[in-house]
Amino acid sequence: MSNYVINHLKELESEAIFVIREIAAQFENPVLLFSGGKDSILLTHLAKKAFFPAKIPFPLIHIDTGHNFPETIAFRDQLVEKLGVKLIVGSVQEAIDNGRAKEETGADASRNSLQIVSLLDTLEAYKVDAAMGGARRDEEKARAKERFFSHRDEFGQWDPKNQRPELWNLFNGRKNYGEHFRVFPISNWTEMDVWEYIKLENIDLPSLYFSHQRDCVVRDGVILANSEFIKLKEGEEVVNMTIRYRTCGDMPITGAVESEADTLDKIIEEIATTRTTERGGRADDKRAETAMEDRKKQGYF
């Protein structure tokens, strides 16, 4: 500290807190999109720090696909209770039941793209003008081009060729009626930064991230948890494996890694030597080379 330099984690923390405070100041109805994954847990932790000793001044929104890991839901409810923050749940099942969304069919059916409908419906119902999320630029090539303040038109669409320039720390959140923003306070964090910070700050995570035994199905090289949401194809069998998750999406599409890492130190060591990207196990990204870009344009997170 004596030579007036802060380390990279403190600098990233300071940047994220600055952005979160800007959101609270510039928008009328901001929300935090809470997926239950480590990045949104980190974001919630940063939001708590930003406003302490006051409570987080905006609600969390969780889009429940109905295909969540039970651990995710239990963790979410505990966290909300502890922080005394409001939780809004948008249900994909509801959107399917009332005909707003149509379920995919087939063995690889996923509710991933159906989330877009529920997300946009929920944002509209609560008149949300800024939805912040834990997406990071290092995750995926379309996300590498995201702004901190990402403008969405009245249809919730992203126009990557016409983004607002973002200079210094001056964030322009002005908008016309009906438009909203997605804001990404941890844009500049890498997977390693997230884990090191979780360790530094001693942040609680769902047990899914740590090594455990689970019944799994290996499909196209991806290890999926066996669950009621997955239909076995011919020749596939259920195997009990020692695994953990690097990201946390829906049960039928989130790939696990075989791992013995059951502590934060071991996880950090594992990531330092790993040779595949975090989203490498995400079936939703594998549908096309530009799968993420296409979904983002439609309003995906």
Binding site: R21, F52, A54, A144, K161, L170, M192
Partner: protein
């Protein structure tokens, strides 16, 4: 844990399609082991399907569909890598003239600029542009990489010629710290590993420079500036009287017990605590986000600024700024705009267009009636309320503004206060 106590360095690279910028970035990522196997597999597969003989590392950095279709970069892309010594954020920006606005965007947050020159071609118009933008945005450090040395037989004469041409041009610019390195990004000479082909070069590699360049004095540590983002009032029984000012330090060093002045009110008080999440901080400096409490009850709000009593910024409604124009819609005198400065916002009027700068010759073009996309020009702006600012050369945060279109809400200009 080896990564925890390292510094963050943000740098920008600017270059055109052919000067090897993407290859250089690919090389830095690859040699620092920041490229994952599945990313490499994907790039190899697409190189093959396009019929290339080699793995095109530029496919790693071109993110959007339209970019890959056209083989160009249309926007700022951010890349990350770390070594045991530092974490790096690269703002990778395209170099052609129509993308000056992206270069400016990438440069605004950078500590360092890498300027690439093709050894076969020497200084080009766009080299002038890159160097000028680096100096305009006051990037504290620049590294000029003379690339493709393998294609000029690693010639010391060619290298020295380019270095002296660059120095002749840059003497007019005032970039304080410039380093020159002869490299071959394709073969890796002097990028991460020292070249065996250029014994005549006694300096260090690019990676060594990136890891060791002194950045702790890049922030202003003298002039205390704390723009208030919001006021924290918990309204709980435990904290009924708590009133904290949330914000990020833009300059100087603040300590509890310091006498401070609040702008615009002019009220003087003493810092009671500086904290974050309840933890007490003994010294706060840029770029730390903190919450500050004062001994006296002062009615500060967003946009106000806490400074030292005897070191105040300029306070005025009249600004002289150098702007980069970012909108396809030109601007003329007498246009009403919105100005964002620190956490403050004001209606403003562009009063006068003074001159444009030809960024290739650095000459002034006087007598202009409009400023167009990618122009760099000097404007006089009058704001509806006083702003508290410093000259951009003194403080990049309190000396910068963005200009917003009142009707469309788009960011249309980036300004540096003279």
């Amino acid at each position: 844990m080896k990564y925890q106590d390292i510094e963050l360095l943000r740098f920008t690279t600017a270059g055109s399609v052919d000067d090897g910028k993407s290859t250089l970035i690919g090389r830095l990522l690859y040699d620092s082991k920041s490229i994952f196997q599945d990313q490499l597999d994907a790039v190899e597969a697409s190189s093959k399907s396009k019929g290339f003989d080699y793995v095109d590392l530029s496919l790693l950095t071109d993110g959007l569909k339209s970019e890959r279709e056209q083989g160009i970069t249309i926007d700022v892309a951010y890349r990350y890598f770390a070594t045991p010594k530092r974490k790096f954020i690269i703002a990778d920006t395209p170099g052609h003239i129509q993308y000056t606005r992206n270069m400016v965007t990438g440069a605004s947050t950078a500590n360092l600029a890498i300027i690439l020159i093709d050894a076969r071609k020497g200084m080009l118009e766009q080299t002038h542009r890159h160097a000028f933008i680096a100096s305009l945005l006051r990037i504290p450090h620049a590294i000029v990489c003379v690339n493709k040395m393998d294609l000029v037989d690693y010639s010391e004469d060619v290298y020295n010629g380019i270095v002296s041409d660059f120095k002749a041009f840059s003497s007019k610019l005032g970039i304080s710290d410039i380093q020159f390195i002869p490299i071959s990004a394709l073969n890796g000479d002097n990028v991460v590993n020292r070249s065996e082909n250029m014994d005549w070069y006694g300096g260090s590699t690019l990676m060594y420079h990136l890891e060791t360049v002194h950045i702790s004095s890049d922030h202003n540590l003298v002039d205390c500036r704390f723009p208030i983002q919001s006021v924290i009032r918990p309204h709980t029984l435990d904290n009924q009287d708590y009133r904290g000012f949330a914000g990020r330090i833009d300059g100087g060093v603040f300590k509890p017990g310091d006498k401070v002045k609040s702008l615009p009110s002019g009220f003087v008080s003493t810092i009671k605590t500086i904290e974050l999440n309840g933890e007490q901080i003994s010294e706060a400096f840029a770029p730390m986000s903190v919450t500050m409490t004062l001994e006296d009850e002062i009615d500060n709000s967003r946009g106000d600024m806490i400074v030292r009593e005897n070191n105040v910024p300029l306070v005025s409604q009249d600004l002289e700024v150098l702007v980069t124009w970012m909108s396809t819609k030109p601007i003329q005198a007498r246009t009403k705009v919105v100005i964002k400065h620190t956490t403050n916002e004001s209606i403003g009027m562009v009063k006068e267009l003074k001159y444009k700068i030809d960024i290739n010759t650095l000459h002034r073009i006087e007598g202009i009636d409009k400023v167009e996309m990618n122009d760099i020009a000097r404007l006089s702006i009058r704001t509806a309320k006083p702003l508290f600012y410093d000259a951009y050369k003194k403080n990049r945060q309190t000396g910068s503004i963005i200009i917003i279109d009142e009707q469309t809400n788009e960011t249309i200009g980036a300004g540096m206060i003279i």
